[in-house]
Symmetry: C2
Amino acid sequence: MEILSTNKAHGGIQGVYRHASEATGTDMTFSVFVPGHVEGARLPVVWYLSGLTCSHANVTEKGEYRAACAEHGLIFVAPDTSPRGEHVPDDESYDFGQGAGFYVDATEDPWAEHYRMRSYIEDELPRLIAAEFPKADLTRESIMGHSMGGHGALTIGLRNPDRFKAVSAFAPIAAPLDCPWGEKALSGYLGEDRAAWRGYDACALIADGHTVSELLVDQGTDDEFLEEQLRPELLEQACAEAGIALTLNRREGYDHSYYFIASFMADHLAWHGERLAEDAAASDKGA
Amino acid sequence: MEILSTNKAHGGIQGVYRHASEATGTDMTFSVFVPGHVEGARLPVVWYLSGLTCSHANVTEKGEYRAACAEHGLIFVAPDTSPRGEHVPDDESYDFGQGAGFYVDATEDPWAEHYRMRSYIEDELPRLIAAEFPKADLTRESIMGHSMGGHGALTIGLRNPDRFKAVSAFAPIAAPLDCPWGEKALSGYLGEDRAAWRGYDACALIADGHTVSELLVDQGTDDEFLEEQLRPELLEQACAEAGIALTLNRREGYDHSYYFIASFMADHLAWHGERLAEDAAASDKGA
């Protein structure tokens, strides 16, 4: 792992790192914030998955998460959204190919070789973080994301209910099977058999029996993608039918931008921090 | 005035605007954050002046000021750092010409025609803000800035002690007469007569009798520009000799970046908010 930059921020260290990924067969860049902490402390890890066109840099610069992570003692990891490079297949549109990995393991050519973001995020990067950041307590993880990354957080959380102590999203693509972004990405990466898509759709996963106890979602009412692409009402319906306690905050006048995300980041991190700390307390009692 | 964008953020509106400036003879772009407020409220205005190479956009995206402005009820205005455009004289270096106006009214050709940032910031933009933002209470102003913009805030504050209720800076260029950045900019814009530079140097202004009751400065100890360009010890000495209450916080391990600024932005805005509110209370009593 190569250190690209470190900066002291809010009493901790904001770093940007690069490594050669086995999963994607490319170099991958990600950022990690480690807040100030007492000697010997081990801290829970919040995964933040970004949206279409983003890299690690967008949330790192605009996400306004460091003050809350410092307050609650949370390590914050922000991966890239796809493999990148001149040798990596791409598409000229913004919503497919580089910057648009959709958190799937692609099965269709020419995408299958490098577009393995599910394996990268679920398996490889956590192992790297555990190895390279000794302060990270990977027994206490939570996951969140925005838009395509909200889809990533919800689906990864639903597929791994025992692993993540909290799952939340900002303006997630709630039902990729039923929106243009999702249909384009899933057909492109996975082929036309829609049965293969169901593991990458929060609503389908819930309908198929995957469950978590609770979810937190914030959604701006002036989000330009709300009705056609995001469709939180389908998640609301799926959660109601499955008995999942969904808190869906409709935020009047907010759009799809980082101004929206930054406005509610501290709320989400406080919610994650409570659940990660409660779990720690429970573990302590059990020990 | 043209609206380039508005986004709801932290309960208020973050806007970016453009207007044709008389002072610079160019279009100028700036950002304004107006926090949520009760009907009929009028809010104090904090001016934020940016550093070399920056436009309004850097602090608007990375400054993490909106939560604190919402908490304290502060309007936050971030101007550009120079005139810009193909017809505007420029220099290939990063520390002179476009993006490096140094908050002076240039007297040397070819700069004198457009590089009139002192008049723009002190006179023209406040009049525009007063006219276009009816919520802005221009009887309650404060000023802050970073690096070259810290120099701007200190010098504008010292030249207008009755106008600004609070003056603070992050890693300011404290003594332009005695550092390479300052010597290059002031000789280029104002010519070789160093007497003409003294109105644009915080330490010289203090030595020449300009004063304010107090100043707040934060400075990272790992700032790469600290010893050669910033020289806060000269400001410390000038304030000590003049009896100005300078709070100079040396922040261990912090650098010159927006990670540093964002880490202490909330502290500075709380300090400004207190002074702008105290003044309001005093005015109320007097009325």
